[in-house]
Amino acid sequence: MGTLNTAKPKIRLSNSNLLFIIAGIIFVLMYGFALISFPGSFMQFQTFFDLFNLNAALFIMTLGLCIVMIVGGIDISIGAVCGLVTMACAMLLESNMGNVWGALLLALGIGIAFGLLHGYLIAYLEIQPFIITLAGLFLAQGLLTTLHKDPINVTMPAFVALRDFTIVIPWLGTQNRLGVFIPCEIKLGVIVVVVLVVIFAVLMKWSRFGRNVYAVGGNSQSARMLGINVKKTIFFSYVICGLTAGIAGFVFIMTTGAGNIGNGASFEMKAIASNVIGGILLNGGVGNLLGAPIGTLTLLTINELIRAAGVQSNFQAIVSGLLLYLFIVLQSIVMSLRGRSKFRLALPPWLKPHLLQGKKKAENQG
């Protein structure tokens, strides 16, 4: 074998892990900044737990979307599906036949239905994911307002009990103004989030499906050559995403207790932003699943900071959007510094127009 250099090369951090670590650092920095700037509100542990308590639905949606983004796709219907689920469940629970399990099944059913529709059209009929999920968004919105225009408060006792269920942490807490010690509370939604995070993390790192998702997102042509069923992988990614949207809807109504046509609106943008901040590249194929919840935390912290700083509600969206673009550019810089290619904005496959010409040129080499 002679002259080949068999010395082990320096192993550098994988892209996914690097971006995840950066996301973690940014979160710590952001939260630290918040602690320093607004100690009154942020110093309390309850504030941290409330990030989870009040936004459990967003966390859950972000997880499902993470998988779709890694496989190289996008789903912008999840917010509307979440809203639809809240209204549907609210109606079921308030009718005489409703029970909690029924509502849960309904939520999962609606989510899976959308997931199946999107998955089939995108994976097997090869239609652009953006258009299909945009149509799905309008479909869900249309169905939502058709079902019921006014908010429905869920008063069913079993459900209300579920909603009020809290886990109390006796040793952590704050003194309120009257000097009474109020221990920290965790709502049920948080448990769901934690369970899902664990399941999905295991799925992405240790299951064949998870690794296939990464492979397809990295290079779907190669994945096909390597023997992976690309269509099935993409299909199930969307089904999972739809399912999490359904779960998110159920958790949402568990948190707020009411079905409302505004529920979940623009959550898909927040979920995308959370994933991007958490180190999941828009490109596909890169990203650590644990980055999704971290990114969500960072996004929520930033929003809280903006709110606490007194920025008008109209401008909040613009500021968040600007930060999002900043992150995308930052990621692109990091990736290009690592790679050999020149600086290029990390754009995902569903963003670029059909690149049929480029492929043809490569085939023309006899």
Binding site: E126, I131, W350, Q357
Partner: protein
């Protein structure tokens, strides 16, 4: 003979919108045979048909722009409603701050709003042509943030446009039997027709949409053409916004032309244009726009709720996308081929069978064809 064939094939491209139109007319006639009746109210035509022409004015203009953008950039612009809202906000701001409102003020305001439209078109166009972002995603930015920008311009107060000229533009000029928006749309279509006749817009846009690299090797700059179509779209948005705000009499940033992009995409698709670019058919798109307007009104007449219409349209778009998808196309052509061979073999069998029957009357129950 070839000339006749060409005209017939041109008509066949209009088959889809015309047939949908026909179905809608039939449904409406069934509901009430006086569908086509036209009366005169206050010196202007009134009836279902004039109302459709009136109501679809903005949509027709936007569909023309959408057809061009789709043809050249192989994607859709989903920010058109928001763009129109921004340009009309600029218009209203100008007019309300101009003191006395004359025809000149209105015209100046219109021109300024057109400039705003071109700026917006340049923004979208640059993202698509220079940064190679897919049109639907590039225009997502304005789709999400456009109305907030319009809010900032019109001061969130939903300003009212209450002068005579606006009123006339929005409804009817006294003495003219046709509503003004309808006239404006007709003028716009005429201008577009003239542009197509006197420039190479069609050739360049179609070449770029079908094969950008070949277009390049023939001296066309695909980036410039794509950019141009977005500029045109911006101009269309300005005109549509102008008509819409004068119709409404006030500028409502939240609801002005909301979700009109869905109707425009549908109009273009029904008009026989491929949503993945290439050749375009403006006549079809225009007919498609009027068809969508008729569809909207028919659904309302059949007492389908406004919100549910959104769901219907979404399903419709999905069906159109499915039909247009490459996988389905390949499948359909295979099925057609099989059907052809089946028909061919059936007719051969028939002839053969007749011969057999003549030759022998023995039973054929167990016999199978070779």
């Amino acid at each position: 003979m070839p000339r006749l064939k060409a005209n017939l094939s041109h008509l066949s491209h209009l088959f889809l919108p015309l047939s949908v139109l026909l179905i809608l007319i039939v449904i409406n006639l069934v509901k009430g045979a006086d569908y086509f009746s036209i009366t005169m109210v206050n010196g202007a035509f009134y009836g279902n048909i004039p109302n459709i022409l009136f109501g679809a004015s903005e949509l027709v203009i936007l569909s023309i722009g959408m057809a061009l953008v789709t043809a050249a950039s192989q994607g859709q612009d989903i920010s058109i409603g928001e763009n129109a809202t921004i340009t009309s906000a600029v218009f209203v701001l100008f007019v309300l701050n101009a003191g006395e409102v004359t025809l000149f003020t209105i015209l100046a305001g219109f021109l300024i709003s057109c400039v705003a439209g071109l700026v917006i078109g340049a923004f979208n166009g640059a993202l698509v042509s220079v940064f190679k972002v897919q049109p639907m995603v590039a225009t997502l930015i304005l789709f999400m943030g456009g109305r907030s920008i319009a809010f900032m311009i019109d001061g969130k107060l939903s300003p009212i446009l209450a002068n005579d000229i606006s009123n006339q533009i929005g409804t009817v000029i006294p003495g003219v039997p046709i509503q003004t928006p309808t006239i404006l749309t007709a003028v716009f279509i005429a201008i577009v027709a003239v542009v197509l006749k006197t420039t190479n817009l069609r050739l360049y846009v179609e070449a770029v949409g079908i094969n950008p690299s070949a277009a390049r090797l023939n001296g066309i700059n695909p980036k410039k053409i794509i950019f141009l179509t977005f500029l045109i779209m911006g101009f269309c948005a300005a005109v549509a916004g102008f008509i819409a705000v004068n119709k409404a009499g006030r500028h409502d940033s939240v609801n002005l032309l909301k979700f009109i992009m869905m109707d425009a995409i549908l109009a273009v698709a029904i008009g026989g244009n491929s949503l993945s670019g290439g050749k375009f058919n403006l006549t079809g798109s225009i007919i498609g726009a009027y068809t969508i307007e008729m569809l909207n009104r028919t659904l309302l007449r059949l007492e389908v709720e406004t919100e549910t219409i959104k769901a219907f349209k979404a399903v419709f778009i999905i069906i159109l996308m499915v039909i247009a998808s490459p996988v389905v196309r390949v499948f359909a052509s295979k099925v057609l081929d099989k059907a052809k061979t089946l028909v061919a073999s059936y007719s051969i069998r028939k002839i053969g069978g007749l011969n057999n029957a003549v030759v022998s009357n023995t039973d054929t129950s167990g016999k199978k064809e070779e």
